[in-house]
Symmetry: C2
Subunit: 481 residues, 2 copies
C-alpha cells in the first residue's frame, strides 16, 4: 500500500496561494497571511496577475511563472478558473490542491455540478489530490498552516476532520478555551477526491494524533468508511458527530456540501457498532474531547463526589446515578478517618460530600477527596467547586482558592482520575470586570493549566464520562456493568 497522500500534504516544502491578495476583504489575503503569521517554514508563492508583491513576497501572475516546484496549492479563485489551474499545477509538480473555491455541486445547479466533475477529472489525469472543494482546508499549528487568525499556535494531540469549516472553526475556538490543543484539523467540504475514510486512516497512523474527531454529513462509501472506523476506533478514541439526521438536516446537508446524508437509523446503528463514540451536538463533542484528552482509561463506575452545598450535593447524586454511575456510600475506613478530625459531622457526612456540613470544622472538600483517592472503593473523583455559597468576597475567595489548590494536588498525586465542575457564566459587558467572574476565570485557568478536565455542569460531565467508560470497556472487551 502506498503512503497516505496526507503524509505529503501536511509536509509541503512550498505552498502557492492562488488568488493571493493584499485586500483583507479577500480570503486570498487571509490564507496567505496565516502562513506568515503561523510560521510556515517552507517557500510561499502568492499568485495573482494583478500583483507584483504582497506581504514582502514576490507575486506571480500565474502558477506557471513560479520558478520552482510547488508541493501544495491553496486555491481561492472562482470555480470557472479551476480546471485551467489544475493543468498549470501539473507543470509545477503540485501534489495536492486545497479548493477553498465553492459554489459547485452544493448549489444543486447543473452547470456547477459539471464544472466540479471536470475539476476532478483533470486532477485525476495529473494525479493531483484534492481537498474540497468548498472547504476551509488545513489547520496544522506544528506546520504553520491555518484557516483562521485566532487559533492556538501551539500544538496538541487532538486531530479532526470536519465536513464544515464553520463547525471546525467553532470547535477549535471553543474547545481551545477548555485547554484542548490540536495536531491537525482538516475541513474538507464536498470531498470529491480525498474523503473521510482517507482522513481516518491517516489519523490512525499519525503519531501526533492521540484522539480523532469527525463531523460528517454524507459519506462517499459507507461500507469502506465503517470498516475503517471500526478498525481505527480499536486503536484510538474516535468521536463522530453526524450532521443530516433529520429531514430538514438532510436537505441542509445537500445544499451545504452536496452530501447524501442517508437514513439516520441505519447510520446510528452502524456508528454505534463501529466502536466510535457518538456526539450529539457541538457542546457534547467539546465535552467528549475534554474527557478523552485529560482523563486516563477508566473501566468502572464507582464515583466519589464532594463540594458545594446541599442542593448541589443532592442533584449531583441524582445526575451521576441517572448517567449510570454508582455513587457509593462512604466506606467505614473513611468514616473512621473523618471521625478523628471532625467528630461533629463524621456520622452525618456522606458521598456526595456536602461542603456546607463541613462549615466550622477542620475538614474540607479537599480532605474528603484526598481520602477517597486512597480507597479502592472509587474509580473516579468529582470535585464540585463551591460557587453556590452565600459567602462574601474574602471568605469565598479564600475557600475556593484552597479548594482549587487541593484539587490540583490530588490530580498531581495521580491516585485517581479527577474531574472538576465549575459552572460557566453567561457574561454581559458589565460583568466581565466583576471580581467574581474574574476570580472564576483565574481558577479555571489554573485547573486547565494543570490538565484537569473542567465541566460546566455535573450532568454534562456525567453523560460525557459515562461514554468514555463505555468506550474503554468495549475496547478492552470488559463486560458492561
Amino acid at each position: 500500500m502506498s503512503a497516505n497522500p496526507l503524509e505529503i500534504i501536511f509536509q509541503p516544502r512550498s505552498i502557492a496561494v492562488i488568488g493571493a491578495s493584499g485586500d483583507p476583504k479577500s480570503l486570498g489575503y487571509h490564507f496567505l497571511r496565516h502562513l506568515i503569521d503561523y510560521g510556515y517554514r517552507g517557500k510561499i508563492y502568492p499568485v495573482n496577475p494583478k500583483l507584483k508583491e504582497v506581504f514582502n513576497l514576490t507575486a506571480y501572475p500565474n502558477l506557471g511563472e513560479v520558478p520552482d516546484t510547488v508541493d501544495y496549492v491553496i486555491c481561492c479563485i472562482s470555480a470557472s478558473k479551476v480546471v485551467e489551474l489544475i493543468s498549470e499545477c501539473s507543470i509545477r509538480g503540485v501534489k495536492a490542491v486545497h479548493l477553498f473555491t465553492g459554489r459547485l455541486s452544493e448549489t444543486g445547479r447543473m452547470e456547477a455540478i459539471e464544472t466540479e466533475r471536470q475539476i476532478l477529472k483533470k486532477a485525476k489525469e495529473f494525479n493531483i489530490r484534492l481537498i474540497g472543494p468548498n472547504c476551509a482546508g488545513l489547520y496544522y499549528p506544528g506546520g504553520g498552516i491555518s484557516f483562521s487568525y485566532d487559533f492556538p499556535k501551539d500544538s496538541g494531540f487532538v486531530g479532526a476532520f470536519f465536513q464544515s469549516g464553520g463547525a471546525a472553526t467553532e470547535f477549535i475556538r471553543y474547545a481551545s478555551l477548555r485547554g484542548i490543543r490540536f495536531s491537525k484539523i482538516i475541513s474538507y467540504g464536498n470531498a470529491i477526491d480525498l474523503n473521510e475514510t482517507d482522513f481516518l486512516q491517516y489519523f490512525s497512523k499519525d503519531k501526533e494524533t492521540k484522539i480523532i474527531l469527525g463531523y460528517i454529513e454524507g459519506v462517499k462509501d459507507g461500507r469502506t468508511f465503517l470498516n475503517m472506523l471500526k478498525s481505527v476506533a480499536s486503536i484510538k478514541p474516535v468521536i463522530i458527530i453526524k450532521g443530516g439526521r433529520s429531514n430538514a438536516g438532510i436537505r441542509s446537508a445537500a445544499s451545504h456540501t452536496a452530501s447524501i446524508a442517508g437514513s439516520i437509523d441505519i447510520w446510528e446503528t452502524a456508528l454505534k457498532q463501529s466502536g466510535a463514540v457518538l456526539a450529539e451536538s457541538m457542546d457534547d463533542m467539546i465535552d467528549l474531547a475534554v474527557a478523552f484528552s485529560f482523563l486516563p482509561e477508566i473501566y468502572k463506575t464507582h464515583v466519589g463526589i464532594a463540594g458545594g452545598g446541599g442542593g448541589r450535593t443532592v442533584l449531583s447524586a441524582d445526575e451521576w446515578e441517572e448517567a449510570g454511575f454508582n455513587v457509593v456510600p462512604l466506606p467505614d475506613r473513611i468514616r473512621n478517618k473523618i471521625r478523628e478530625v471532625a467528630p461533629d459531622i463524621w456520622d452525618w457526612i456522606g458521598n456526595p460530600g456536602d461542603r456546607s456540613m463541613m462549615e466550622g470544622s477542620r475538614f474540607s472538600t479537599g480532605d474528603l477527596l484526598e481520602m477517597m483517592s486512597k480507597e479502592t472503593d472509587f474509580d473516579l473523583l468529582i470535585a464540585n467547586v463551591t460557587d453556590d455559597a452565600p459567602f462574601e468576597k474574602e471568605m469565598w475567595i479564600h475557600t475556593i482558592r484552597k479548594e482549587i489548590d487541593d484539587f490540583i494536588d490530588i490530580h498531581r498525586s495521580r491516585a485517581k482520575p479527577l474531574a472538576v465542575i465549575l459552572r460557566t457564566a453567561d457574561l454581559g459587558i458589565s460583568h466581565s470586570e466583576n471580581w467574581r467572574w474574574e476570580f472564576i476565570a483565574e481558577q479555571r485557568t489554573r485547573l486547565i493549566d494543570a490538565q484537569i478536565p473542567v465541566f460546566s455542569t455535573f450532568s454534562r460531565a456525567a453523560k460525557t464520562i459515562g461514554r468514555l467508560i463505555d468506550y474503554y470497556q468495549k475496547k478492552s472487551h470488559v463486560p458492561s456493568l
Copy 2:
C-alpha cells in the same frame, strides 16, 4: 380561608435579627447588613447580648428588651437556644420566624430531632409561623430583604421556593446573568411548618409573580401538594425540579433537609400529570425560566431558523427536528422575494438559512428572518449569531453588530416570537480582556436588555422551548401535534 401567612411575612413592619453581629465571619452580620444594603424600609432590631450597637443601630440583649412589637424574626443562633427564643417572640407579637439555625433533624441525631420537635410545638402554642429550620430564608428585592450580598436589587416577576439555599443562590446568580429578575424567593430547608404547598398557594395569588419555580427534595403531604400544583399550574407556569431521584440522591436529601424523597417513578408520573414543567438540572431550570419569562404563549412548532455557517445550519435543523419541531421548507412567497434581492442564491437557500451562502449578496440573516416574521408558515423564529465564521475582527464585528440590530428590530416588531442562540464561552483569565469575548458580552447585554431570550446552544433552546409549547398546549387543551 384566612390570608396566607406569607402575606404578612413579606410585609413586616419590623424585623429583629437574633444573633446579629459586627463580625463578617458570622451570618448574623450578613443577614443584618443585607437589610440595610437592600433598603428594607421597616424598623430593624439587632439582638445580641454582647453588643450595644451595630451598623449604627441600637442592639438589644434579648428580644424581650426590644421596645416595640416585632413582626418578623431572623434567627441565627444555635439550635439549643431556639425554644426559649420562641417564647420571647410571643411577648413581642412576632408573627413569623425564619430559622437560619440548622443542625437539627437533618443530622439524623435523636437529640436534634427532639429539639426540632420542641421548636415546632412552642411555635404552634403561640401561633408563630416558621420558615425552616436550616434554610436561607427570604429574598424579596422589592421589600429590601435578601440572603446574599450579590443578588439583583431590582425586581422581576419570577417567584420561587427552594428547599436548598445553595441551589437558590446558584439559581439567582446565574439566572440573573440571563436577564431574569425575581419577585420573591423562599429558601425553606426542613419545612417543619410552612412548606411547599403554602408557597405554591401564595405565589398563585401573588400579583408580583407571573412564573413560579420550585426545587423540592421531600414533600410533607404529597396529595395536597399535587392537588395544589395541578390547580396552580392551570393559572401560571410552574417549573419544578425534584432532588432525590436516585438512591444516592435520596440518602443525600435525608441528610440535607431530613426529607423523605420517595419513589421517583411515582413522583415523575404525578408531577407530569399535574401540568407543571419538569426541569432536569439547574441549567435546564434556568433555561426554562428564560423561555417562560421572555417568550409569549406559543402553541405550534413550525420554526424558521437563520444565521451561522453550513455546519451550524445542518446541526440546527437536526436538533430542532429531534426536539419535535418542524423545520419547514421556505415557502414560495419567501423564495420569490429572495429572488428579487439575491438572484444568485434564491434557489439554493433554505430553512435553516445558511449565512455563508449569503456572502457577497445583498441579503442577510436579518432579511431572511424579517421575511419569515411576516408569513403564517412560522410559529417561532430562531436566530443563530454567526460566531462560527473565520472573518477577522473588523469584518466580524460589523457583521454581528448588524445581525444583532436586525434581531432587536424583529423582536420589537412583535410579529413572531424570537429566540437568539449565542454560545457561552468558558473563559480563562487571559480571555476576559480579549476583544472577541468582550464584544460577545456586549452583544449579549444588548439582546438581554431588549428582553430577547438568549440560549447558549440550539439543542438547549429547542429542548426548552419544546416544553414551553407543551405547557401552553396542555393548558389550553390544544391537542399535541
